[in-house]
Symmetry: C2
Subunit: 591 residues, 2 copies
């Protein structure tokens, strides 16, 4: 049983982040807190009632391949039809492309619920939004008109085709080629790890494919972006002949079994017909529009699986009776045992901290697109871009630990698949890998994101948080604990940032030996600052409504975060400052 | 491909721990370093050639249940026969019981290889040794003669029957009952999570079952131990009628698929015939003989899976080519990328540290049983008992992280089951749960193990290490780094120990809110001291054989441990000292 954490999501949207900025920036869609609440509540119903019941059965059945195509598990087709019918595919898309144009702040809240209820289902569904963005940014008006309306309506779905067997993190190595033929190209090549590369949810699938034009420059500067539909589209928009592409096989994976991960063959015969979008050799930049949106989403997947793991572990711990506690009749519910309570507090504190950080990044992204002040807009966008690798890397690594702790709370039952706790661990394990591993995120963070402005965006972010912490009233012991711990941790982060910048300036490879430690430090500290803000909000709210359980619980998790999560910062900061030599001076042949 | 890490195992046995103590204590079996090497080398061949080829296929096929019994995957029966034929079942058993009486130091080294090559196979096989110990300690000479010879020879296998649906970590709740009938009892009850509760490897299975005599006291003081054979044994030792017990079903688990985890029904008809061993109501103490041996073994399982994960990740990282490194032709092997190298160093450093700690505990156990000096013997046994929960808890939690890192090194390929990296993560995930969860270990550590001598054994251990660190020559930068980092971390540990003892004295429940952090601190610091010793040994060896790659590699991992692993101690110590209130003052209803 999954229950959408609506109170907590409202807290993040309205109390932690606040509605003012969005109300101003999204006046064109009459944005209001109530509108956001309504959307999230509808999403909650859909997630709880339609998607959640298919999560376990989808895992058990998995997607199935046959020569005639891939089929999704029982119920997925109906669920997708209901998803389209309810208009969810249109929600995040801008109005000019036929959508409702909701802010990222709302979109990501909705995504959390969808991913939590059924990650394997929503992975495919959520691709169309990014594809529409990439096509709109790169293609001609005719191409946009040809491909995007049915993606926005949900009649079609989309895919991202980047990886090839020899080209994973290093796209410079990709070999898929495109040969010109009239107004289109013929595409030849094999792509792997294609999420929902084939399925039975829609009649057509719009593949975004990276390939090389003949004579293109070597490396990533010779990659172009093509739209390659599964079924060709006639001039009048009706379905034409099947294109020359197919799914050769699907992968047998650790988790997300219901999500077909396809090996795709393009051009086994005469070549798959594809349409170049954007100028030649500039495909990677456009694909990164899709990728960057996906990276925040993957961070949210971490939040989502953590929330599910927490809910299931809490249910178990409240009902499972074992052992004695002084002063209570034996056996007691295991939630009362200190170490079990500790595990649950750890899961809850970190899940709330991750959610706060995702919300914070989403709001910066919205301000970065919509703020009335151009300077503020630019600054917000840069801040959102700085936060993206941190959200993606830290939330997914933390979620892995949270989901593993969820198994642990169950004891032996956690290891039994029917219990369900293991599925969250299996499913979440991919999140720190796809759309750029944690290592890739950390190198992006210390390389591109700190490097392009010499750390100015990071300095402004930590400065703003420090000012906020200094100004915050903290009367309760809990609020004091998290304020003081965050202030101290921020000092460590500023110090470590200086150190990593200096190191990167001297030799980027050295800095990369501690870049993941730095990314983790950023995540745990910045989210800690948001927990300090949360404690201040909760404290103020309790003054108005004494005894309110939600705010009391919030203070409780903030204190735990201060005393048992933020201490990690000390070790990470130390590793960032003094640990690089143990990597850069290590010889790989001695491993 | 698994290659037994023979050089490293020899290093731990002969150079890190030294042969002197064992040569003296095991003069009766003519123990020598060469003997140990021969045994380990034979075990390596068996593990690599017989067990490893069945690891992946065993995972894929899994154990299978039918009404007529459980069958193991293809090849397991032949492998077991070869295992028995080679005499491995006799190796750890004392000479008076018909075994070869090898020290624990050797036994655990052999176990590492067996568990690494095929954890699911060896889980069943390794149970007989503990069962023989429990029977020998509790039973009459006639009972010992009836049951143990065929367990020692491997003709039969054994099981431990503790858990019931309502009685997991809390055995006080167990309900299985024993009704007297002549010279035996009739057993009635259901047991769950019984490893190799049924299988086709041997004709008979000796079940050790905890049950209550009628009128027994409540709680754990009313539990007795029974031997319940699958097939009854005639007076002449020949096979009699089937006993009234059967496997009702086997579990569908996250990992160790080839190991049948059984629901066992005893006494569905007239009652299963069982033999009381030891005095009534004292069963738990004898079962703990089996359990304590198992706990060190489970720690070794962590080492074993970590070593496999490391080997596989290294192979991948040396062969997979992606990306650029300044000064090298692109694409380069990913092992050269700093973050990949960091992950591999982290896996290697922690695997070596865990192995050293397991060896250290095993040697203390051997000295505790065999040292000529009674006072030294007692002190060593107490130290081994102190180390047991640390080995079990820290090695399994660390192994989980190492195996997950192994998946990460592979990128997307790590998530594909055929790659094999995911299996190690799935298999190892049970180790921090069974034979007492990490929470149970940590409460044993701060409760019984620190409590019984007011921390004297821990104080003596840290004092000995401190003296060793102070006396150690450390000329190389690597040896200096690990010596200094360990010395500093030991101070943190001594301080945290005082704090946790004071807290436990005031209120044990408070201390239990930070007991896992304390256990992890013990593990990372004590293993760090052994890494400092390893660096000193390596440094001295390099003076004699300059350029030796093994010792150079050892110094490299010791430095990494100092700079990127030991910093964890700072955060853990802080949590131990200041984090208890965030748990003990938390209210479970606010979670």
């Amino acid at each position: 049983m999954y229950r959408a954490p609506l109170r907590e999501i409202r807290f993040v949207m309205h109390e932690l982040l606040g509605d003012d900025a969005l109300v101003k920036a999204y006046a064109d869609i009459d944005y209001s807190g109530d509108l956001a609440d309504n959307i999230v509540e509808e999403a909650a119903k859909f997630a709880e009632n339609v998607l959640e019941p298919l999560n376990r059965t989808g895992d058990e059945q998995g997607a199935a391949w046959s020569a005639s195509g891939v089929t999704t598990p029982k119920g997925f087709k109906e669920a997708y039809a209901a998803y389209v019918e309810a208009g969810w595919t249109q929600m995040p898309v801008s109005a000019e492309l036929g959508g409702q144009g909701m802010p990222h702040t709302v979109t990501l809240a909705v995504e959390e619920l969808m991913f939590a209820s059924n990650m394997a289902f929503f992975l495919g569904t959520s691709l169309a939004h990014g594809a529409v963005g990439a096509i709109a940014a790169s293609a001609t008006p005719e191409q946009v008109a040809m491909f995007t309306p049915k993606l926005v309506s949900g009649e079609w779905m989309a895919t991202m085709n980047l990886t090839e067997p020899q080209a994973g993190s290093d796209l410079a190595l990709l070999r898929t080629r495109a040969v010109p033929e009239g107004d289109h190209y013929r595409i030849f090549g094999q792509k792997i790890f294609i999420t929902y590369g084939d399925h039975d949810l829609t009649d057509n699938i719009i593949h975004l494919v990276l390939a090389r034009l003949e004579g293109a420059p070597e490396g990533v500067k010779g990659i172009s972006l093509f739209v390659v539909p599964k079924v060709l589209i006639n001039a009048d928009g009706s379905a034409g002949a099947p294109n020359d592409l197919r799914c050769l096989s699907i992968e047998h994976k650790l988790g997300i079994h219901a999500s077909p991960t396809c090996v795709m063959a393009f051009g086994e015969k005469q070549g798959a017909i594809g349409y170049l979008v954007g100028p030649p050799h500039s495909g990677l930049a456009f694909m990164f529009i899709m990728m960057n949106a996906a990276r925040l989403s993957v961070g949210v997947q971490g939040v989502a699986q953590s929330e599910r793991a927490l809910q299931q572990a809490l249910d178990w711990a409240r009902n499972r009776k074992q052992g004695k506690i002084a002063g209570q009749p034996a056996p007691v519910a295991i939630v009362e045992h200190p170490d079990v309570k500790r595990m649950l507090l750890s899961m809850k504190a970190r899940t709330e901290a991750m959610r706060a950080l995702c919300g914070f990044a989403a709001l910066e992204l919205d301000r970065g697109h919509r703020d009335a002040d151009p300077a503020a807009r630019d600054a917000a966008l840069v801040r959102a871009e700085l936060l993206t690798p941190i959200v993606k890397g830290w939330c997914t690594e933390t979620a892995l630990d949270v989901c593993s702790t969820g198994v642990q709370v169950h004891g032996g039952m956690g290891y039994i698949e029917e219990t369900g706790a293991a599925q969250f661990l299996r499913d979440v394990r991919i999140t720190s890998i796809y759309e750029g591993t944690t290592g890739i995120q950390s190198n992006d963070l210390i390389g591109r994101k700190l490097g392009r402005d010499r750390g100015a965006a990071m300095a402004s972010l930590t400065q703003d948080f420090l000012a906020e912490l200094n100004a915050a009233r903290a009367l309760s012991p809990e609020a004091k604990a998290i304020r003081n711990a965050s202030t101290e941790a921020l000092t460590l982060l500023r110090d470590a940032t200086e150190s990593v910048q200096r190191l990167a300036g001297e030799d980027m490879a050295r800095a990369q030996g501690v870049s993941v430690a730095y990314l983790r430090l950023c995540g745990v500290v910045l989210a800690g600052c948001l927990m300090a803000r949360a404690a201040a909000v909760a404290e103020a709210a309790l003054a108005a409504t004494p005894g309110d359980a939600f705010y009391q619980g919030k203070l409780q998790t903030c204190r735990f975060y201060a005393e048992q999560v933020l201490p990690e910062a000390a070790g990470l900061a130390r590793t960032v400052k003094g640990g690089w030599g143990s990597v850069s001076e290590a010889r790989s042949e001695l491993l």
